[in-house]
């Protein structure tokens, strides 16, 4: 699965993307796995209320299931316009 990071999430993790083998059933479980990796991940995911998630390029929720999903992206609230 491709895991993408944008804006300050990308900066805190220090990479735009990870390729991850995971059995996580939901986005939240994936976040828990990432946080356990290294302090920089822990720092990026410390406050989930400050984050948004897209699953296969559609805005989604942290309790969304990951079965069959190819791409998950984490980012702060969007500031377009």
């Amino acid at each position: 699965m491709d895991v993408l990071y944008f804006a300050w999430v990308r900066e805190r993790i220090g990479a735009p993307k990870d390729k991850i083998e995971t059995n996580a059933a939901t986005v939240t479980e994936l976040v828990d796995e990432l946080r356990a990796r290294e302090p920089r991940y822990e720092a990026a995911f410390a406050d989930l209320s400050a984050l948004r998630v897209a699953v296969d390029q559609e805005l989604s929720d942290f309790d969304a299931p990951l079965a069959g999903v190819r791409e998950v992206a984490f980012f702060p609230p969007m500031t377009g316009g």
Partner: protein
């Protein structure tokens, strides 16, 4: 409908003129253009990051919803990314409807959704450093009126 995500600048006048051509049954065209402004002084540039795989489809979905909801004759969304200087155009929307009320309302809807549902992130580059623009709570509450 046209949705463009690009780093290049665009010519507002020719985009508006092209949009207003051959509109079927429209009596009103509304356009909005967003410009990089120096709010606090010392802004050198705005850097706009986006999610390439998602941006086009997210903008298209928002534009399609506006067209359906206000029975628009047409809609246009252009949004830039990359490094933009103060005074440069960031984005524009245009809507065409039989009557102006629908055209104005649809343009506001598009703007409200672009602000907080399109995958763009703005970073302000100043002499003292760089800082991500935080989403405003106002922008989130602005969406509620469209529900």
């Amino acid at each position: 409908m046209r949705v463009a995500v690009q780093s290049d600048s665009f010519d507002f006048a020719s985009e508006a003129a092209a949009f207003a051509q051959d509109l079927d049954g429209a009596g009103a065209v509304v356009t909005f253009t967003g410009i990089v402004r120096d709010v606090s002084g010392g802004l050198e540039a705005m850097e706009i990051e986006h999610y390439p795989g998602m941006t086009q489809s997210a903008l298209t979905a928002i534009a399609e919803e506006a067209i359906e909801r206000w029975s628009l004759a047409d809609a246009l969304v252009i949004h830039r990314h990359g490094r933009l200087a103060v005074g440069e155009q960031i984005m524009m929307v245009a809507t065409a409807a039989p009557h102006r009320g629908d055209a104005f309302e649809a343009a506001e809807f598009l703007m409200d959704y672009l602000k907080s549902r399109a995958p763009f992130w703005k970073k302000e580059i100043t002499r003292d450093g760089a800082e991500w623009v935080e989403a405003r709570e106002d922008d989130e509450t602005a969406l509620n009126r469209w529900k």
